[in-house]
């Protein structure tokens, strides 16, 4: 497979209905994250948050090709992974607000969301944790023809998990797709400063087919993901995708992103995956309005939702 430079949205947009659905999911993530940011500033979201704004095309493109037997492991920047999989936005927002109606009852919070019904085996607060979880998932899914996807950032490739798990997956030809979201920074530090060699080359030394793609082109991501998933499903082993993308916000709430080079954010804004999709689709007003209405209702519901009551009898172990 060859390296693809970041470029305009691919010409081969799918039919309008599907295109609108991909766009809708990306917009939902963007507006969800804007909302989380606002609610954080108002003190309604606790701890910290790691927003996905700017990277939407990666999760949405990849998750659009997954089937019911497939599973996904996301990162601490995982709201986008969850929403792309179809996790209920209301339940996710409620979780971030620590409400009883959250997808994990308020027990998990932003960095650790789990929703097995929607095939999300977890979001992982440890850099590289998603790689391990997905590798194990692939071991189990091999029996039923499912594929496991790990999302992780460029920082994760310097963790032992990356090397050890990709080797493990390749040795046993596991149906795993490893998606590195290279947003140029590991937390506050440019990846080139702390990463030796090319990211993709590391997978290639393990004899894992790999490609570098434009992560802001949702259809390009979808095409690459479909190819990788089909290959994994056919028993040909793991694939690696490096998706070049950019987060429009800092690493976390405490990070204003001052380390960015002048003009860098602006140049990436011009490659905003949402705008590119909208330009390709044309009129999106109906979807735009529907998402705005959904968000407004979600905020109202979430703020009205009850906090969980501390359970003095909460169980340490599962029974039986």
């Amino acid at each position: 497979m060859s390296r693809t430079q970041a470029s305009k949205a691919s010409e081969a947009a799918p039919d309008r209905e599907e295109a609108l659905e991909l766009y809708r999911r990306m917009l939902l993530i963007r507006r969800f994250e804007d909302t989380v940011q606002d609610l954080f500033l108002k003190g309604e979201v606790h701890g910290t948050t790691h927003l996905y704004s700017g990277q939407e095309a990666v999760a949405v493109g990849v998750c659009s090709v997954l089937g019911e037997h497939d599973r996904v492991a996301g990162t601490y920047r995982g709201h986008g992974h969850a929403l792309a999989l179809g996790v209920e936005a209301q339940g996710l927002l409620d979780e971030l607000l620590g409400r009883a109606t959250g997808v994990c009852g308020g027990r998990a919070g932003s960095m650790n969301v789990i929703d097995l019904e929607h095939r999300l085996i977890g979001c992982f607060g440890i850099v590289g944790g998603s790689i391990a979880a997905a590798t194990g998932a692939a071991l189990a899914l091999k029996r039923e023809g499912g594929v496991a996807v790990a999302f992780f950032g460029d920082g994760a490739i310097n963790q032992g998990y990356f090397h050890e798990c990709l080797n493990f997956a390749r040795v046993f030809r596991l149906p795993a797709v490893y998606v590195c979201e290279n947003n140029l920074y590991g937390e506050f530090t440019p990846y080139e400063q702390v990463t030796a060699g090319e990211i993709r080359a590391r997978a290639e030394t393990l004899d894992i087919p790999s490609q570098t793609i434009d992560g802001n082109d949702v259809w390009g991501v979808q095409t690459a993901a479909r190819e990788a998933v089909q290959r994994a499903r056919a028993g040909e082993g793991p694939c690696f995708i490096e998706a070049l993308t950019y987060r429009f916000v800092g690493h976390s709430r405490s990070d204003p992103g001052r380390y960015r080079k002048p003009g860098e954010l602006d140049s990436w804004r011009e490659r905003d995956p949402l705008i590119r999709a909208r330009d390709a689709i044309g009129d999106t007003e109906e979807v735009d309005q529907a998402v705005e209405a959904q968000i407004a209702q979600m905020i109202e519901n979430a703020l009205a939702a009850p906090f969980p009551s501390p359970d003095p009898n909460a169980r340490e172990y599962k029974d039986g």
Binding site: G105, A108, L116, E117, G129, A133, L139, E164, C165, K318
Partner: protein, 328 residues
């Protein structure tokens, strides 16, 4: 039956009973395990169920965690307990917390088997009993059997348990023999202690090889007219608190014998439970542990380092006010 064969039989019976059970680790399949616990399983169950992995504990534990979330019931072997820090993220941060933070969507039915313990001249980093590293983790069960029969029954229970279990096997017990009866055995019960010797003067509490040291110490103490009760906790988490309380009600004195450093050890937890729940029954509580330095290599140093039967007996005599002269 040897302890190591009991482990093998438990795995074989569970592999046969439930096709979701898989066994993997370094050198466990073709070679049969460095402690010869798993020969024959590969031949019997095939490479999809029993397989060798890279020397890659992060991947091993990650694969165990992820596959357990997705429907398998993996049993992995981490050859020496000293290597367990390499599995801590998957085991502690992910598997043990999954049931609770997922709001009880699922638990993670995996077993990590690992060989622990000193006395084999393996030096400081192949001889530890790293119970304490994992002791403070809600959601993780800790099993530490002392006999072949228990090893078989408790390993079967661990495989069937829906929660993550760390199953510790003491290196000095692998060759121990015991009649465990013919054929298949029932699964045991995790969290249930056993009274290995009835006594009325003092309770000795331990696990794994320590139980045998306590039994030998009890025989020495009997010569002095001290009647020691020996409790085998079998599972360190959950802890059989009732068994501790019942024994204390009889003996009023308790020594927890731990092969491990005193600071932060599980023996301290046993004493805390005794103090919290049985204070009215307590005349004395203390710990017999290893010194606060790494495990030495030289035989003379290692032997002196470990709390053997003589040391346990001597500690009990001293604590009960039996001066050496009392033996005259």
């Amino acid at each position: 039956m040897e302890f190591r064969v009991a482990i093998r039989d438990a795995l074989a019976e569970e592999l046969e009973r439930d096709e979701r059970v898989v066994v993997f680790g370094e050198d466990v399949a073709a070679a049969g395990g460095v402690f010869v616990t798993t020969p024959g399983l590969l031949e019997r169950f095939g490479p999809d169920r029993v397989f060798d992995t890279p020397i890659s504990e992060l991947a091993l534990a990650g694969a165990a965690f992820g596959s357990a979330v997705c429907g398998l019931r993996p049993v992995i072997e981490i050859m020496f307990g000293d290597f367990l820090p390499l599995v801590m993220d998957s085991l502690v941060n992910q598997a043990s917390k999954y049931w609770y933070i997922s709001n009880e969507q699922a638990s993670v039915p995996l077993v990590v088997r690992s060989a622990v313990g000193a006395g084999g001249r393996f030096g400081a980093i192949h001889s530890q009993s790293p119970v304490t590293w994992f002791h403070a983790v809600p959601g993780l069960k800790l099993v530490a059997p002392s006999t072949p029969a228990d090893a078989k029954a408790l390993l079967k229970a661990a495989v069937r348990d829906d929660n993550p279990v760390l199953f510790l096997e003491h290196k000095r017990l692998y060759s121990m023999k015991e009649d465990v009866g013919g054929g298949r055995s029932e699964a045991g019960e995790l969290g249930s202690a056993a009274v290995r010797r009835d006594g009325s003067d003092v309770t000795l509490v331990s696990v794994m090889k320590g139980v045998h040291d306590c039994l030998a110490a009890a025989e020495l103490l009997a010569e002095d007219g001290i009647d020691a009760e020996v409790i085998d906790l079998r599972t360190l988490r959950p802890l059989d608190r009732a068994a501790i309380a019942e024994s204390l009600a009889k003996t009023n004195r308790l020594a927890a014998v731990e092969e491990g450093p005193r600071t932060g050890g599980w023996a301290g937890e046993v004493l805390a439970v005794a103090a919290e729940e049985s204070l009215d029954d307590v005349d004395d509580l203390w710990r017999i542990t290893t010194p606060e330095h790494p495990i030495p290599y030289s035989p003379s140093l290692e032997d002196a380092f470990l709390p053997g039967a003589e040391a346990i007996a001597e500690s009990v005599r001293a604590r009960l006010g039996f001066a050496v002269t009392a033996r005259d």
